[in-house]
Symmetry: C2
Subunit: 787 residues, 2 copies
């Protein structure tokens, strides 16, 4: 599956044994370090060669004009795009007048290791300059989980034998030139050199720079300081000119006596604070990092991760690739969310500029379910960020002629940035997805403060939206017409089943919450009549059903449409959206990503087991998975309907999305939702875990032949639970907290301190459904057995 | 109705008695002269003040980039935009060092008269310069119907009393600066100074200029020559520098002894011919015009129009405004089409830059039905132009994954220029509209050469398109999903009734034609199997019907959608598309323009009389007429279902669209389709004329109370017919040709040389349907009675 020899398969590290320039950009994403606040792509210390240089701060963006060939009322005029901020990871090296650049001379060895337990990226290189001088360069990099504003780099260089005249330049550089992204020229213009210098000051071994963006009105500060451990006679100087601040260390080095540098970096940004305030903030953060010191930061990092893994680790025996990939995924999910702190988790985290750095429904529907059970405070923080955008979402609703709040389909700071409304604003389900994430978090944590302060306002605002978006028809049924569901190969359909089911739950839950918090509801001006109208609409929601085929159409009339001509679609014509017009995709039965099947997962109680099996079998041959938001859901439902080998295959696809670069765009950043989905595929899929709004957590585990044991841990209502599954039995155990009622394959159990083991009932194998020709997931059966 | 005092109501002229600068741009459109090849806006001779200077040549355009905030496969990258070519109507005047400019000094009188029988625009002005010198300026302008490349201006100036030193400058000016059109800056850049000078030569009293466009690769030539009749001592000089060529006549004038100038203008353009060839072409055209002379051109013009009116005039007794407006409309329809000659008729003709100068379905569905019965050769020529774009339409179909040909929704030269596909490419009905126009022309003319050479290839190509666009569903019915019908407030719906009925006729007629022209069909590679598949699809076409409401939904599920909240929509919120998002419009029952009601007209045989009445009554309260392509169709069906007063009101709206500036955008050019629709409202509406594909022409006349007599003439199968209608009876008469079987109110009659009169059966008045509040058409009842 990991087709490139660059990466090794090991349980707790991602190791690149050689440098392959053709996957340099992919590796930059894979080796990105982040804490949710700062993100550093895995660029080489010396800056070049690079795939895409990248340093990101959560919510630092620039505005760019959104042009339209034909405009329309309410179209957003400008979009928010993540920008590459001041690069502080740059450490250039000159060896006997020759710049260290792996494209020249001879690279004897080059290894990079991302340690998922230590939270550090280590690089070791031995390089012979064109003039024949050999040096060893070692660097270790971290973005601190414990000091949110801080990153640090430990850097060492020494001659392999003999001596060498060495100059190390450690820099802060703003407005790096980026490779051409093939954009609209006006966009490129807006994003070229987005930062305007306000300050560049140096002092001894330190420097600080403050910039502001031209249009979005944000101020960004970066600071660095250094500890230099230099043998013998070394000169140190520091300078700051224009967009560059530089510490220069020059010396004559001898084999065995390395030059060592620790670089402490800090970032800060604000839309309000002054230049001096921001300057002081980052200088103080650097001082705090120096005080803790390199070893302290490394120790804190390991402690933090140890705690995380104690609650979140998953063990997968029998499939070493998935074992590594799921840990890699969980590490990046944590990196994306740990310190986001009331800021969004973008689709790519802070690992690359893909999708303009926007956050979508991916976060609430794929990332938060994983965080809710493994690092719940991060889930709450994202939802508090959504809540902070309620005023913008209310304005958006007004513009659309709707009540309540309508959250942006894609955004950084809350404003709608979609330039194509049929696949943007029309995808109203994001509002129910946010409500669903809030309900799931409350169910999993019993966090009543959050329920009252955050869930209630979110649910009321979205219930109002749904109530005004739908209407009762002549027969009294509640319809939601002309909206776009999760499947982006359909648009503007009536009564999308997923949307309607999620909207119904949103309205029903809002009505219930309003009953629980009467005073708060009154403050939100919710009358009993209004709550009743939500309950009524939820109860009368239209769920179309095709009686001829005995399946649920994804939306009304979907099953009447022509089937896509899969047989004559060539493999190189995927993803379809790059090779066929939307008009053609929208009007045919072809599914980009799980839509009805996602409803089977998230609103499972609305379907019978037989309906689930029939629906899954119907949609499998139509689903092309041109989105990374599909395989994990298909894994979950495949497992539920007994297609365990297929579930394993989809699990593999979700988990290996980026290590395998399955969509050929990992260069632009990681698919955080797919990585989070791999956990869901294991826990909700093979583990059969269901929770959320049903009032309890239950399991229905079953393993495919390629996995001999699956263990996972999760948080639920102030408990930590450990589940261990073998082909024949499952063992449940409380790690801490009170005994918890649960269910195993539909039988009530109680999970206690003492492990209890229950047999797994057998099932009759069903025929495996087909996928569109050429779109079958890679089989893990053989691979699984090999390990 | 004509609220502005600027225009008088007279039967054969449009007279502006005073100059009102606030309606200057509207008047420039109203007074535009054109022959379908050249179009001159009614700009003042002296160039300023202007609303919008405009000189257009049919199919001369520049390319401009079409930008997208989010791109998609197959989106057009550049659009075609009509450009303002070399202005040859400019004649500036200097009176005692003071430029003649109506904004300064005193305008004692100013009158402009468009004579609809003479085809000339006359202007008379008496002006006193700020220095107190009074002059009388008279000019007459024509664009020749008989010499396609030629326009001419007769210009005279004299002092009212005493004497004046006068300089007249007659010019050719390219790249005039235009008022800011508030466009995308990149578009503005592309269209600013679109012409690159290749040649500017002068000789004696003549000049010629050749330019080329930067991107579209067109070469444009303009030439002028003059006859100068100057009293006494006059100096004449000519110069050509840069983008200006100028004849200057300077002299001292005395009262009663005017300076007179005849300016002959010629235009030519080509995508292929060389600069010298084009130069010679326009110089030769000017020579031909000089040879014929001013009086000859004027006489030819009147002869041409006399012939036209002899076959096309409509007399409306009792409503003088409509009488004038319908003649004004027919004049402009003729101007738009007379000499287009295998070039398109744009939505605005050549009267302004609105809609980028594009041609839409307006032409085939609204303009050609009128031309077919009044000036049929122009209808044939437009369809031959469509035929000439078949190779482009075939490529378009391939790009969309379809068979046959898909004509552009909006274009100048054939390429799709729509930048918003849900209201562009998805409006596939244009293909059936073209087929329908071809069928109607053949039915009306019996032109078998056209049928074989043009109608057959058009019908085969479009039938193939429909066959591949639709599919047979599980029940064997033929569905056409995900397309946009005429109503632009809905999009991407399944089984739009209008589209399906028109597609069915298209396919059935293609199958029939293929049988008639077996050899040609074979050359087009049509097999009997293919033709059978068209017949089969046509017979099985889905026509949705709402059994609860007993009406046809415009498209599947339309009647399930929420009704637009008309009651809370304020008058100033129309047109809705400028004040509400598409998403909201598309998902509700609100109709921009006749859609199902257009099907009632063009496929009337597919509905019972009761269905027509019920459908009309259902759609009236939903139809807001935010398009000028609605009132005429509503007039036709209102008349058919017996709503005669309402039909009269809609007729008035269609006819007065531009004289009344009802949509507040006449400044950008005239609504040619609405003007043509006024004829249809009279002839097919009040006259009840039906023809087309039914094999015969029939009438079912009935007059509203405000019209005491209606007479019209039309061509049908080598005959000219005259119909005269009074409230009680209708008289039919052949003007020339053989006796013609027809029908009067369902009773077979034969129209012969001798007039025969038939009584009009009475009808019981029905309750008048309501329109959305504030969107009722202006009542003509009182106005009609007043006259």
């Amino acid at each position: 599956m990991i087709s490139h020899p660059a990466f090794n398969v090991e349980p707790w590290v991602v190791r690149e044994c050689q440098l392959h320039l053709e996957v340099l950009a992919q590796a930059e994403s894979v080796f990105a370090l982040s804490n949710g606040h700062i993100g550093l792509r895995g660029n080489l210390d010396e800056g070049e060669p690079h795939g895409l240089p990248g340093t990101y701060l959560n919510s630092v963006y620039e505005l760019r004009p959104l042009p339209y060939a034909e405009g329309g009322y309410g179209y957003p005029e400008s979009g928010q795009t993540v920008i590459n901020v001041t690069n502080g990871k740059l450490i250039r090296l000159l060896v006997d007048d020759e710049p260290f650049d792996v494209r020249y001379g001879t690279l004897r060895s080059h290894e990079r290791v991302l340690d998922l337990r230590a939270g550090i990226l280590t690089r070791t290189a031995e390089w012979v300059s064109p003039a024949g001088c050999a040096v060893r360069v070692t660097s270790t990099r971290l973005v601190s989980f414990t000091q949110r504003a801080v990153a640090a780099i430990w850097y060492e260089v020494e001659p392999v034998d003999g001596s060498a005249r060495v100059v190390v330049q450690s820099e802060l550089v703003a407005n790096e030139s980026l490779p051409d992204l093939g954009r609209d020229p006006r966009t490129t213009a807006a994003l070229e050199a987005p930062l305007v210098m306000e300050e560049n000051v140096v002092d001894s071994t330190a420097a600080a720079m403050v910039h502001r963006t031209r249009r979005s009105g944000l101020r960004v500060a970066a600071a660095m300081d250094h500890e230099v451990h230099a043998p013998g006679d070394t000169q140190i100087s520091v300078s700051g000119v224009g967009d560059v601040a530089r510490l220069t260390v020059a010396g004559l080095l001898h084999a065995g006596r390395p030059l060592r540098l620790v670089k402490f970096l800090a970032y800060g940004w604000s839309s309000q604070r002054s230049r001096p305030a921001l300057h002081d903030q980052v200088v103080a953060a650097v001082a705090a990092a120096r005080m803790r010191g390199w070893d302290g930061l490394v120790a804190d990092q390991r402690d933090f991760l140890e705690q995380f893994w104690a609650g979140a680790d998953v063990e997968v025996d029998g499939d070493a690739e998935v074992q590594q990939a799921v840990r890699f995924g969980m590490f990046h999910v944590l990196q994306a969310g740990a310190r986001a702190e009331q800021r969004p988790i973008p689709a790519k985290g802070l690992t690359g500029p893909g999708y303009d750095g926007h956050v979508f429904w991916d976060t609430e529907s794929f990332v938060l379910p994983t965080l809710t059970y493994t690092y719940p405070q991060a889930a709450a923080d994202v939802l508090r960020w959504r809540q902070s955008t309620l005023p913008i979402a209310r304005e958006h609703a007004v513009r659309l002629g709707l009540d309540g709040a309508c959250f942006a389909w894609r955004t950084i700071a809350g404003e709608e940035c979609s330039g194509y409304w049929p696949a943007g604003t029309a995808a109203f389900h994001i509002n129910a997805d946010i409500a669903d994430a809030a309900l799931r978090y409350v169910d999993a944590t019993d966090d009543r403060g959050f329920e009252r302060e955050t869930a209630l306002p979110l649910l009321v605002a979205t219930a109002r939206l749904w109530r005004s978006l739908g209407h009762h028809d002549l027969d009294g049924r509640f319809r939601i017409d002309g909206v776009t569901g999760p499947d982006e190969y359909s648009a503007l359909a009536d009564n999308n089943v997923y949307t309607n089911l999620m909207a119904a739950r949103n309205m029903a839950a809002a009505a219930e919450l309003v009953g629980q918090y009467a005073d708060d509801a009154e403050a939100l001006e919710v009358s009993p009549e209004e709550a009743a109208s939500w309950r009524d609409a939820a109860a009368a929601i239209v769920i179309p059903y095709d009686h001829r085929l005995k399946v649920h159409p994804q939306a009304e009339a979907f099953t009447d449409h022509a089937r896509w001509d899969f047989e004559h679609t060539k493999p190189e014509q995927y993803p379809l959206l790059l090779n066929f017009p939307y008009f053609d995709l929208y009007r045919k039965q072809v599914v980009k990503q799980a839509d009805l099947v996602l409803a089977l997962h998230l609103r499972g109680e609305a379907f019978t087991a037989e309906e689930k099996a029939r629906n899954f079998a119907y949609y499998e041959p139509l689903t092309v998975r041109d989105s990374s938001l599909s395989a994990s859901t298909q894994a979950v439902i495949a497992a539920e309907v007994g297609q365990l080998e297929l579930a394993h295959d989809y699990l593999g696809e979700a988990a290996l999305m980026d290590l395998g670069d399955l969509e050929h765009n990992t260069r632009d950043g990681l698919h955080i939702a797919s990585l989070a989905g791999a956990w869901t595929a294991l826990v909700a899929g093979l583990g059969g875990m269901r929770a959320g709004t049903t009032g309890a957590i239950s399991f229905a585990p079953r393993l495919p032949s390629g996995i001999s044991r699956l263990s996972f841990r999760l948080f639920y209502r102030s408990r930590r639970i450990a589940v261990s599954i073998t082909p024949d039995a499952a063992t449940y155990r409380l790690i801490d907290g009170l005994a918890l009622p649960s269910a195993h394959h539909g039988v009530s159990i109680v999970i206690r301190d003492e492990p209890s083991t229950y047999p797994i009932p057998g099932i009759a194998p069903l025929p495996r459904p087909r996928q569109p020709p050429g779109r079958e997931p890679v089989s893990r059966h053989v691979r699984g057995s090999e390990d």
